[in-house]
Subunit: 366 residues, 2 copies
C-alpha cells in the first residue's frame, strides 16, 4: 500500500504507479477538482468515461457543508459522492489562508470565519487530520501555510510553522488506509525550498507536495523552485504540484519531475465559456463562432468535439445553458487527461523530450 | 410516412406507433422540452440512455436565438443539437401570446417584442411555418391563439383566428418530410371545443393537438374537454395534449385518449431542487433529507437513485451545484418516461384500467 513504483524516467520526467486502497494510480496524473464533493457539471459516470483516475475534494468546503461527520456517518466521501477511484483531500489550509481579512493565525493553528454564514471556526494540524480521516480520501495533506511567494521574512517565519504542523499531522494520523503527504513551502527562495524539502524528507512520508507556486511568481521562478525541490525529494515517493493545471504548466511540471497535479482551471474556465486547446484558449462567446461548423478543437475525440459545432456551443454559452458548462467541462478535462496520458506514454517510450518540445513550440506564449 | 398505427385500445386509452422520418414513435409518449435546442442539463447521450424518443423545441426561442436561418444553414435542428430521433417544434404562438404586455394581435398575425433585447418582430401563420421548415422538426404545429380558458367571448373570437390560421399554415407548408398538426382550442366551452375538433378534422391533417388546457381551468374541466375532443378527432391520427406533464395528468390524459404530451415540468422542477415521485413531489432542500441514506425515490432504477442518497442530492441542491440539476433532471425525466412505457405495456396487455386506478389511488391529491 502506498508504494510508488518508478517505471521510467526521461531527464527529470517520471512515469510511475502509486498504489492506493482504491486502485493503482498511473502517473503523471492530473486530478480534476471536486470542491464540494462534485467535479462541477460532471457525473461520476462521465468522469470514468473521460478516464479520470484521481479526484480532489476540498476539506475546507466539506467541513463547512455538509460537514465531515455527516459524510463519515454516510460511509465516507467515496461513498457519498460515488467516486470509487483514488481520491485526495487537501488540508483546508489554502482556502483558510485565502480568507485574508477574516482569519487569524497563531503557532497552534488558524481561526477563521465561514464564507457561507460568517460563523467562527478553528483549524489546527490535529483538526485538519481528524476532518480528513472522517472524509477518508486515499491521500490527505498536512496543514501548511501558503505564504506570499515574494516575501522572504514572512516565508521564513511561515516555514517553521509549516514544518512543525507537518510533524504534528504525522503524529495525529490514525488511519492506516490513508497516505499523508507533506507540503514543501518556501516561496521563491532556493535556500528555504531546499530546507523545506530536506526537513519533510526526514519525516519519511509516503509522498510530497510542492505548494505555494502558481500564486503570483513568474514561470521561471516556478520552474527553478521545481528543479531545486525535486532534486532533493526522494525518487521513490510521488511529487504533487498543487493548484497547477494549464496545459503548458502541466508539460513544464512533468519536465521537472512532477507526478501529480490538480487544478480548478479546466472546470472553472468551462463554466465561464472558455475552451482549453492545444493551441491556446478560446472564448466561445466570441461572435466569429456563431456560424462556425467546426468542433471546439479539431481532431479532439471528446464527446463535445465528436458531436457538436462551435456554433452550437457558442449558442449554449450565450444562452447560459447548463449544457454549455457540461460540454466545455467534458472537453477541457478530456484535454488535460489526454495530455497526461500522452506524456506518460512518451516517457515510457523514451520520446518525452521531443513530445514536450513539440507541445511547447505549438502552444502560444501566455 | 406519418401513418399512425393503432395497436390496442383500453376504453379511450390507446397504444400506437407514429411513423416519422427520424424513426417510429411508440405512443403514448412524453416529450421532454428542449426550449433553446437543449433539454436543460442533459446531453443527447443521457436522453438516449433515459429512453427518450421525442424531443420538443420552441420556435419562438430558436427564432430569436440563435435564429432559424442559422440553424437551417448548419443542417437543421436535428443536426444542430444532435438529436437524431423524432422531434417536434411548437408554432411560437404560446410564447408570443404569453407576452401579454408587449404583443399586439390582428387577424393576419401577431406583433411582439423580444424578451431578450426588446426588438420588434411579427409572426404570421406563413412566418411560423417558414421558421419551422428552417428548423426541420418531424412534427410542426399550426400557429394558434391560446386564449384565457374561461372567457367565452374571447374564445369565440380567437377560435375563428385559430381556424383561419390553421388553414393558412396547411397552405403555406412546403416540405414533405414534416407533419403539420392543427391545434384544437375553445377554452372550457364544449360547443367551441366540438366546433374546433370538427373544423380541424376537416383539414385532414396528420395529427391534432389539444391546446389551451392546463392553463388555469380545473382538472374536471380539463378532463371533460379531453373527452369531448377525443371523441370527435379521427381515431387513426395521433392526439397531442400540449404543456401537460405531471404524473397524474399524464395518466388522466392517457385515460382520455391522449397519445403525446410535452411539458417543462420535470426539467424545471429539477432545477428548482424538486423531485417528482410516484407518491408526489419532494423538495430536496428540506432539512430532514440532510442525513437520509435512501435514494430520492425508493425502487427507482434511474442513475440518480441507483447511485446517490437523498443526503447527497440535498447537499448538491443546497450548495447550488450543477450536478443537482443534472441528477434531478435525470430522475424526473426517467420517472415520466417510465410511466409512459408502463402505460403503453398495460394498454397492450389489456390491464390499463387497473394500472391507472392503482396509480391514481396512490398519488396524493393536489
Amino acid at each position: 500500500m502506498f508504494e510508488f513504483d518508478l517505471l521510467a524516467q526521461s531527464g527529470r520526467a517520471r512515469a510511475g504507479v502509486f498504489r492506493t486502497p482504491h486502485g493503482d494510480l498511473p502517473t503523471p496524473v492530473f486530478a480534476p477538482v471536486g470542491t464540494g464533493a462534485t467535479v462541477k457539471a460532471l457525473t461520476p459516470a462521465q468522469l470514468h468515461e473521460l478516464g479520470a483516475t484521481l479526484v480532489l475534494s476540498n476539506t475546507y468546503h466539506l467541513y463547512l457543508r455538509p460537514g465531515d461527520e455527516l459524510i463519515r456517518d454516510l460511509g465516507g466521501l467515496h461513498q457519498f459522492m460515488r467516486w470509487d477511484g483514488p481520491m485526495l483531500t487537501d488540508s483546508g489550509g489554502f482556502q483558510v489562508f485565502s480568507l485574508s481579512n477574516t482569519r487569524k493565525i497563531d503557532g497552534d493553528g488558524v481561526t477563521f470565519k465561514s464564507h457561507i454564514d460568517g460563523s467562527t471556526h478553528r483549524f489546527t494540524p490535529e483538526k485538519s487530520i481528524a476532518i480528513q480521516e472522517n472524509l477518508g480520501a486515499d491521500i490527505m495533506m498536512a496543514l501548511d501555510e501558503c505564504s506570499p511567494p515574494l516575501d522572504r521574512d514572512y516565508n521564513r517565519e511561515a516555514l517553521d510553522r509549516t514544518h512543525a504542523w507537518a510533524a504534528r499531522c504525522a503524529a495525529a494520523k490514525q488511519r492506516g488506509d490513508q497516505a499523508l503527504f507533506g507540503i514543501v513551502q518556501g516561496g521563491i527562495f532556493p535556500d528555504l525550498r531546499e530546507e523545506s524539502a530536506r526537513y519533510l524528507t526526514s519525516l519519511d512520508l509516503p509522498g510530497y507536495a510542492i505548494g505555494g507556486l502558481a500564486v503570483g511568481e513568474t514561470k521561471e521562478q516556478m520552474h527553478a523552485m521545481l528543479e531545486i525541490v525535486n532534486d532533493i525529494l526522494p525518487a521513490h515517493k510521488p511529487r504533487y504540484l498543487m493548484g497547477v493545471g494549464s496545459p503548458e504548466d502541466l508539460v513544464n511540471g512533468v519536465l521537472r519531475g512532477v507526478d501529480i497535479f490538480d487544478c480548478v482551471l479546466p472546470t472553472r474556465l468551462a463554466r465561464n465559456g472558455a475552451a482549453m486547446t492545444r493551441s491556446g484558449r478560446l472564448n466561445m462567446k466570441n461572435a466569429p463562432y456563431a456560424r462556425d461548423p467546426r468542433p471546439v478543437e479539431e481532431g479532439c475525440t471528446c464527446y463535445c468535439c465528436s458531436n457538436f459545432t462551435r456554433a452550437y456551443v457558442r449558442h449554449l454559452v450565450v444562452s447560459d445553458e447548463i449544457l454549455a458548462s457540461v460540454l466545455l467541462t467534458l472537453h477541457n478535462v478530456h484535454l488535460l487527461l489526454t495530455l497526461m496520458r500522452e506524456m506518460r506514454v512518451a516517457i515510457l517510450e523514451g520520446t518525452f523530450e521531443q513530445y514536450a518540445n513539440n507541445f511547447l513550440a505549438n502552444y502560444p506564449a501566455t
